[in-house]
Symmetry: C2
């Protein structure tokens, strides 16, 4: 039974074990590929971010964050990020996290959710988001240096809530 | 004769005199409308930003910054921001700053320039940027609470360099 709850400091090690390989692979997130544990946890958890973990039987299978995408008169649009454990692929963890974060965003009265930079090769995520109300509202040509595919496009995705 | 040069700490007061009214008006930039002098100068000048000023006869008429738009494998796309003094409107200051920043970006080997959040009511700026190679690659519906116009769209604009 998958349980989604706010992340706590006790989750730091499990989070880094998931985030580290994804960030170091450098094929989905626009973060330094040599990012350290502290930098990665800081990026994921602190500041304006609210972070969640998906756990099953005490094992962390995925994580998400939710935050305002901009400040001032644009802070009614939120942003979110998702990482799932390789062990958990195909178990619906990403979809459960997305559903949870969308519900939290609606409860917080956000008016829209925006993904600023979705690497075009990340087709599984794009499909999942499109099936859950997101549209590609624009494509940034050659905006990402994919380690295997070279220069690829990135999408801006958006959903009114 | 308009001269464009890197900003120095001696420009702080003149920069705040320009940035403050624009940020407090809250109709173009997605920053807190109660932003303080220190926060505004920090936002404009520090971190990964390189800031420039346009001066004529010792008077600062406009400013711009240039920075990477994202990190990691997306840091070949840059971002820029522009503010001109109300006294200088129509004197070509914004265009001169744009030309300068585009040249600096090309010299730094950036592959593209992206504006993440162009409020749709900012038609003068949009026209200037379109005349200088930028395209609207997507429009974010109702992404900005304009103090007079209410909920308005914002554009993502982009140019390969």
């Amino acid at each position: 039974m998958l349980n989604i709850r706010p992340a706590t400091p006790a989750d730091d090690q499990a989070l880094w074990a998931m985030l580290g390989p994804v960030f170091h692979a450098g094929d989905t997130y626009a973060v330094p590929t040599d990012i350290t544990r502290d930098q990665a946890l800081d990026y994921w958890l602190r500041g304006s971010h609210t972070a969640y973990v998906a756990e099953e039987g005490g094992q962390i299978l995925g994580t998400a964050y939710l935050c305002p995408n901009h400040k001032g008169n644009a802070d009614h649009v939120c942003n979110a990020g998702f990482v799932t454990s390789p062990d958990a692929r195909g178990k619906g963890v990403a979809r459960a996290l997305l559903t949870h974060v969308l519900a939290q965003a609606r409860a917080a009265a956000y008016g829209a959710m925006q993904f600023n930079f979705v690497v075009s090769t990340n087709t599984g995520a794009i499909r999942l988001w499109q099936r859950n109300g997101f549209q590609i509202i624009g494509t940034l040509p050659k905006a990402f240096r994919h380690p295997q595919a070279g220069l690829v496009d990135a999408h801006v995705m958006y959903q009114l809530l």
